[in-house]
């Protein structure tokens, strides 16, 4: 028996080897000649989620579709569009095939068509024909897991806002000293209690103290900056197993970060441009950044996915009158709803990017000749409700352009994404303009620094306050001319009052050492009768250069910061009444402005209200060269509750709170029943005070007991040793008489006369 190929001539082992070799060969061949699902149909797309129509509307649907495709820039002939028909039901099947002339056109069409709105109810989903085939043919049945898929056990994530569930509603704060970062509950009367994790130990992380820290705007995340990037910590422990509560963003040399207002995105900036990390040993860098990112310094991240959305290069520095202007952070500004982020290209345009795609809005930036600066209009609680109901206003920005070629300077308000200019106001002799939005977006003040008309230099010497009423029709503007220079402006949060600091001191801005600049502080509010803003209170010759409103309005601080000799803080109440008579305010505006208290914090560099508006912290950071680093907690009345003087103290940060979840009605109800609530709180306050002091007392008693016991032991031992040597000491004190008397003899020559005695 002989085979032509002589297969039998090989022994068993050799046969196995051969078989293996053949198998391998077959696999190679199979792979080579496998049918590529994509091949041949690269130019075919499937458009899904169409409206279902019957025969009568068939042609109209096709026409509409072609119009939409044409408008989007991916037009198609009718004969290349095929719509499968369900003959039984007499309707279409809800999708069409598009066959483009070549793959390139199909790719383009895919990009521009996918996600297109079709009518009100339909969004078109576009896929490659090959993809549908490919995924449909995946060797996975319904409900099965693909091969190689490992099921991860479900890990319960901690609640990101658990800190708001504190039984007594305390706020948290963070202190950063030397390398140590501590998080505390701010108890009543300045009692600090370390924030403890579920294990009962104070929350602590040695990694936090590398560069600096920052809370996210709603308080959910604690961001710590490191040389290699940013880490965001959250949850009740501000930690957790890796991947559960820590978000990491790799960006070497990161210096500045900025959260979007709704905490969906993050922008990081590094002084060092990104390099080409293709062959970098660190996987995180290799995978995060591509070759296109090389040389860029800004990175926009999707915060929850920890994914890069886009990177940007640094701007060339803008040249001012004296050299390049320093970069003013934030460079990118977010719309309040996280829908857009925009950046000004000084003198040319504002680039508005749409989230989450980070593409330019309508594919082009907003060209504005000469544009200097802009700001987004904030959204009020009502705006949010309207937005949720689907009928909110569009976003709005304000920007200004300086004078050029007989054109006046201008402040414009523009709606986005429509790009409609809603209001325009001409200005003259402008040196600079700054925007101040009231935090609910009700008012906008443009502080226009002006110079004299024929002045040689453009140094600002006086100031106009242009106040826009955003809620009123046609956005009326009111102008308040101020003859002095106004370095500070501040709206009352949620209110309609504002305060300004002005000065006519010739030494202002000269930096003359030892000269204390005097400022005037003015309060304005709308006149109830005439409706225009009028001065209600004027303070002359104050040393304060900083105004800080309470986040709840009504209370305001004047602080002197950055002086080498004055460190005063003054606490004011704008609605101070002894009796509960709300009518008085209307009778005489400004009559209820009352100084509640004054304080002094030696070496103060920063001041911040807590989110509740009940406490204030003044701090002195060693980063800013203060003679005495540390912080002081005050209540809103100016009473000092706690002071810590800490060497190498760097940062004090209140944890922000998200807006309240209570509806307007619920808030009103609380306000109505305030007396009832406050009685309960007073009781709790008293209980807490007792508990705190009892704990302290017990500890002190323990310390005394320990000390006495230790001393008794040591003294006995020493006495014994002395006795053994016969060296007992007789106490000097015991032998000494009570107080000794020291007598002083003072001789004084009262009078001296010389007489010649004549004999």
């Amino acid at each position: 028996m002989s085979q032509p190929n002589g297969y039998d001539e090989f022994d068993e082992e050799e046969q196995i080897d051969l078989q293996a070799e053949l198998d391998e060969g077959f696999a190679e061949i199979e792979q080579k000649y496998a049918v590529d699902a994509q091949a041949g149909v690269e130019n075919v797309l499937v458009v899904d989620n169409l409206p279902i129509v019957d025969e009568s509307k068939r042609q109209r649907l096709v026409e509409r579709l072609r119009q939409v495709f044409e408008k989007a820039g991916a037009g198609i002939d009718e004969d290349r569009l095929s719509m499968p028909w369900d003959n039984e039901k007499g309707t279409n099947k809800g999708f069409v095939f598009l066959t483009y002339p070549d793959a390139q056109q199909a790719e383009n069409a895919l990009r521009v068509l996918d996600g297109t709105q079709f009518g009100k109810a339909h969004t078109l989903y576009v896929n490659r024909f090959g993809d549908i085939e490919k995924y449909a043919n995946m060797p996975v049945g319904e409900g099965e897991l693909p091969t190689g898929w490992r099921e991860k056990s479900y890990v319960e994530k901690d609640h990101l806002r658990s800190w708001l569930g504190d039984a007594v509603g305390r706020d948290q704060y963070l202190t950063f000293r030397d390398q140590d970062v501590n998080v505390f509950w701010n108890g009543r009367n300045g009692n600090a209690e370390p924030v403890r994790g579920p294990d009962g130990k104070p929350i602590k992380n040695s990694k936090w103290g590398e560069l600096y820290l920052q809370w996210s705007p709603l308080g959910t995340y604690l961001a710590s900056l490191h040389r290699v990037g940013v880490a965001l910590w959250s949850g009740p422990k501000l930690d957790g197993p890796i991947g559960v509560n820590v978000l990491r963003f790799t960006h070497p040399g990161v210096r500045l970060i900025q959260f979007s207002p709704q905490e969906n995105y993050l922008i990081t900036w590094s002084e060092e441009p990104l390099e080409n990390y293709e062959d970098h040993p660190t996987a995180a860098l290799r995978e995060t950044f591509g070759p296109d990112d090389e040389g860029n310094q800004f990175v926009v991240w999707d915060l929850k996915a920890q994914r890069v959305l886009r990177t940007f290069p640094a701007d060339k520095p803008v040249m001012g009158e004296d050299g390049p202007r320093p970069m003013s952070w934030p460079v990118f500004k977010w719309s309040p709803d996280d829908a857009y982020v925009a950046k000004v290209n000084v003198g040319q345009s504002i680039a508005v990017y749409e989230l989450p795609g980070m593409g330019l809005l309508d594919k082009k930036s907003v060209k504005i000749e000469g544009v200097q600066d802009f700001e987004w209009c904030p959204m009020s609680d009502k705006d949010w409700e309207a937005r949720k109901a689907g009928k909110g206003k569009e976003n709005m920005i304000v920007y200004w352009t300086p004078e050029a070629q007989n054109q006046p300077a201008k402040v414009n308000l523009m709606g986005l994404p429509s790009r409609d200019v809603l209001r325009s106001k001409n200005l003259f002799n402008v040196t600079d303009a700054k925007f101040y939005w009231q935090n609910q977006g009700d008012y906008l003040c443009v502080k226009v620094d002006r110079h004299a008309r024929k002045a040689k230099t453009k140094k600002a010497t006086f100031c106009n306050l242009e106040i826009f009423r955003i809620r009123e029709k046609n956005l009326p503007v009111e102008v308040i001319e101020h003859k002095d220079y106004v370095p500070q402006f501040a709206w009352e949060p949620h209110g309609n009052r504002f305060a300004i600091v002005s000065t006519n001191d010739p030494n202002y801005g000269q930096g003359v050492p030892g000269v204390v600049i005097k400022y005037n502080v003015d309060f304005y509010q709308p006149d109830p009768k005439k409706g225009d803003f009028t001065l209600i209170k004027h303070f002359e010759g104050k040393l304060a250069n900083t105004l800080v409103w309470s986040p709840k309005g009504r209370h305001i601080l004047f602080a002197t910061i950055g002086s080498s000799t004055k460190y005063d803080i003054e606490f004011y109440d704008l609605d101070f009444t002894i009796d509960d008579n709300p009518n008085r305010r209307e009778v005489e505006p400004g009559a209820n402005v009352q100084l509640l208290g004054t304080g002094e914090h030696y070496g103060i560099t920063d001041i911040a209200w807590d989110p509740s508006g009940r406490y204030v912290v003044s701090s002195a950071s060693s980063w800013r060269q203060t003679p005495e680093p540390g912080f002081t907690i005050w209540d809103f009345k100016g009473q000092q509750l706690a002071h810590s003087s800490l060497d190498k103290f760097k940062q004090f940060l209140w944890r922000p709170r998200p807006p309240t979840l209570l509806s307007k009605d619920a808030q009103r109800k609380v306000r109505k029943e305030l007396k009832e609530h406050s009685r309960v709180f007073d009781e709790e306050d008293a209980a807490e005070e007792n508990r705190g002091s009892a704990e302290k007392l017990a500890q002190r008693q323990r310390e005394i007991a320990e000390w006495n016991a230790w001393r008794a032991r040591n003294l006995a031992r020493l006495a014994e040793a002395r006795k053994a040597r016969g060296k007992e000491i007789v106490k000097v004190a015991n032998t000494e008489p009570a107080d000794e008397k020291v007598e002083e003899w003072i001789e004084e020559l009262i009078d001296e006369t010389e007489e010649v005695v004549v004999a």
């Binding site: 003087s645 006495n708 001393r711 003294l715 020493l718 002395r722 020291v742």
Partner: protein, 335 residues
């Protein structure tokens, strides 16, 4: 508490000590002289003025009979307190930074500076009290220090041991008989130790340091008992008898003082509660850093000597003894 200001030195103070009865105060200064004052009225009793360099250290025996001083002229001198006469001079190769009497007044210790190839040396001398002008120039024991130099030292109770504070922040204990290091705590402080003073009964002692803290140690075990953290480098610390306080003094470095206000310099004496480790009060007045503090042996007064050249003697008011900042929580009175 109006202080008595002792103006008599032309340069900054280096060390001040009360005698055992507390009626005299000896002050050593960089102007080469040691003054002795009546503490009750601030009148100067006399001077000891033979040194040719800054006097770094001074110590008075328990009978107020003999005084010993050490100075930058590389000498240590023994003086008769009553007459002010210099009885004996020891000469060394480097400056004498610290001197101290043993408990029984029979022995002296001296620390000499480490300089120009000379190591820091602790020497123990036997003192001839009968014939004071006739002293032995060779020490009883010589402890040559390797490693960080000693800056301060004192005798442990019973004089079997010397406790030293070092430039590196270490605290060590040496056997006076063998000269061996018997106990050491390497990183007691994170900076140079600037002063060391014993408690009234000798069972514990306090150290001050440039690391801005003062610490209390058990003299027997060198175990750290308490820490007093401040925000300024400390130059001196002492333990008040009668009341449960320690007094700390210091201030920003003398070199950078001229540019700042006296407040920024933190030139106050600080009173801390010895047990609770909390600051209870401050006394202002100096316009230079406090270099040395001393407390009246019966706890009736304390004195501070500063870079500004003044000594301020504060007699405690009645309110100091009566006040109970922590209510009834009082440890046993120590004297």
């Amino acid at each position: 508490m109006k202080p008595i200001i002792l103006q008599g030195h032309e340069r900054s103070l280096t060390q001040i000590v009360f005698n055992a009865e507390g009626d005299l105060l000896f002050s050593a200064s960089k102007d080469n002289v040691v003054n002795v004052w009546f503490t009750s009225n601030g009148e100067r009793l006399g001077t000891f003025g033979d040194h040719k360099g800054s006097v770094w250290t001074v110590a008075c025996d328990s009978q107020t009979k003999y005084l010993v001083t050490g100075a930058a002229d590389n000498t240590m001198r023994l003086w008769d307190v009553r007459s002010g006469k210099c009885l004996y001079v020891w000469e060394f190769l480097t400056a004498v930074k610290r001197v101290a009497w043993s408990e029984d007044d029979e022995m002296l210790l001296s620390i000499t500076e480490q300089r120009s190839g000379q190591p820091s040396v602790i020497r123990i001398f036997k003192i001839n009290r009968e014939d004071p002008a006739n002293q032995s120039s060779t020490p009883l024991r010589e402890i040559i220090l390797t490693g960080s130099k000693a800056t301060v030292a004192l005798w442990a109770p019973l004089s079997d041991h010397i406790i030293t504070g070092h430039e590196s922040g270490k605290v060590a204990k040496y056997d006076t008989k063998t000269g061996e290091e018997v106990m050491v705590v390497e990183e007691s402080h994170r900076g140079e130790i600037t002063d060391i003073q014993l408690s009234p009964d000798g069972t514990y002692f306090i150290t001050s340091s440039k690391d801005k803290t003062a610490r209390l140690f058990d003299s027997e075990t060198l175990q750290e008992m308490k820490v007093y953290p401040t925000e300024t480098p400390l130059n001196s610390a002492c333990i008040a008898p009668l009341r449960p306080y320690v007094i700390l003094g210091g201030g920003q470095d003398a070199m950078s003082v001229t540019t700042t206000s006296s407040r920024a310099g933190k030139f106050e004496s600080r009173f801390w509660h010895k047990l609770f480790e909390e600051e209870v009060g401050r006394v202002r007045g100096h316009f230079g850093p406090i270099n040395t503090l001393a407390v009246h042996p019966q706890g009736k007064a304390y004195a501070s000597g500063a870079e500004d050249g003044f000594v301020r003697v504060h007699w405690f008011d009645d309110s100091y003894f009566r006040s109970r900042p922590y209510g009834d929580l009082e440890p046993e009175v120590e004297l």
